[in-house]
Amino acid sequence: MSEAPESMTLKVRISLPESVAANDIVEVKTLVSHPMESGFRLNGMGEGIPRNILSRFFVTYRGEMIFETIFGPGVAANPYIAFSLRATESGEVRFLWEQQNGEVTEVVRQLAVL
């Protein structure tokens, strides 16, 4: 259980409309590729498979944190997270996935409010 998992590039899918009417509530859906290895499983040789999970996912809208979730080892692989967002003004939406080793994958999307 010693060696740290090598760094990975995460594949990300985000569903966010490019433009919405002001004060509309939109559902934002995200899917990220990650093994979410719990650290409790054994490999074929009976050795422990090191834990390798995402520790945190959070979203900022115009610089303000609007959604955050902390992952534990019980979360299934390739976490799917959906949440609602009230579109107030046009701006940046940043999606950040933080791995247990602190590595952060960031995706930025523009949301235009009409």
Binding site: K11, R13, S15, K29, L31, S33, P35, M36, A76, A77, N78, Y80
Partner: protein, 282 residues
């Protein structure tokens, strides 16, 4: 006496007509009732046994619960789409010493997956889609070989199968009859400590419960699949290995000839089902 037997026969004939399933359940008691050499098993009950093998082809999708089905239907949240996305990138990305991408040769990759397994003319050997990706990788791109169940191989095959979505597999060519026959033999060969063949579950008992799950027809049109139990995308050959291990038989290797022939035989059984990869299964 004769009139009583006649009415009994009539009753059972009626039940046979109304529901073949009930007819099968009732067949034994009816034999017990007529102690003398009674009426022959009615033609209806015999024909149900015969048509079992020719039942309509059904996707594995139809045996899943509605939540798993909706996960597959939603093109955004279907986790298999992560591999499709990655495959689309890899397909266009140069790899190996020659700096060639798959796309440089294969400009029209849509529909390709429906033709596999097929004979690779250079090796004169039956190869599946994954096998062909491996061969291209090594010989045409001069890149480092990729393992059968590697992320790269799964991503590329998922992408190619996704591009063939909606169309059925091509009928198996005349020249492949020998391989097809061996695949069929494998399908009907009893094996393992449980002494079961593929047909025992997927032909004779499709639609029945095996503990908490419905046994499917074992159709291959959804592969590679995202299996919730695996927590990842997996190939058809991985599924074959799981089945072989399940009946406590010695499994063959991923990409082995035996499995590739079985894959070919499943393809011949899948008509007219459309390819639906990447499917989601429990």
């Amino acid at each position: 006496m004769t009139s009583r037997r006649l009415s009994l026969m009539l009753l059972f004939a009626l039940v046979h007509i109304m529901s073949p399933a009930v007819a099968e359940l009732n067949y034994e008691p009816s034999a017990e009732l007529s102690s003398e050499p009674g009426p022959e098993p009615s033609p209806e009950s015999r024909s149900t046994a015969q048509t079992k093998a020719q039942t309509k082809a059904k996707q594995g999708y139809d045996y899943q619960s509605s939540d798993v089905q909706s996960l597959q239907d939603d093109e955004f949240s279907n986790p298999g789409m992560l591999w499709v996305d990655e495959g689309r990138e890899l397909f266009a990305q140069p790899a190996g010493a020659d700096g060639q991408a798959c796309l440089d040769c294969h400009q029209q990759p849509a529909g390709m997956a429906a033709y596999y397994p097929r004979i690779n003319p250079r090796l004169n050997k039956l190869v599946g889609l994954t096998g062909q990706v491996q061969i291209c990788r090594e010989t045409h791109q001069n890149a480092t070989p990729i393992a059968y169940e590697s992320r790269t191989a799964l991503a590329l095959t998922a992408y190619l199968a996704f591009l063939s979505r909606g169309e059925p597999f091509q009928p198996v060519a005349e020249s492949l009859q020998a391989d097809l026959g061996q695949g069929r033999d494998y399908y009907y060969q009893r094996k393992g400590q449980l002494n079961l063949s593929c047909a025992e579950c997927h032909e004779q008992n499709a639609g029945q419960y095996l503990r908490g799950d419905l046994v499917s027809q074992g159709q291959s049109t959804g592969y590679p699949i995202y299996r919730l139990e695996w927590q990842t995308l997996g190939s058809l050959h991985r599924r074959f290995r799981s089945c072989d291990i399940g009946v406590r038989a010695e499994p063959y290797g991923l990409g082995s000839d035996a499995y590739t022939r079985l894959e070919l035989y499943l393809r011949s059984r899948s008509q007219p089902l459309p390819i639906s990869a990447p499917a989601v299964r429990k």
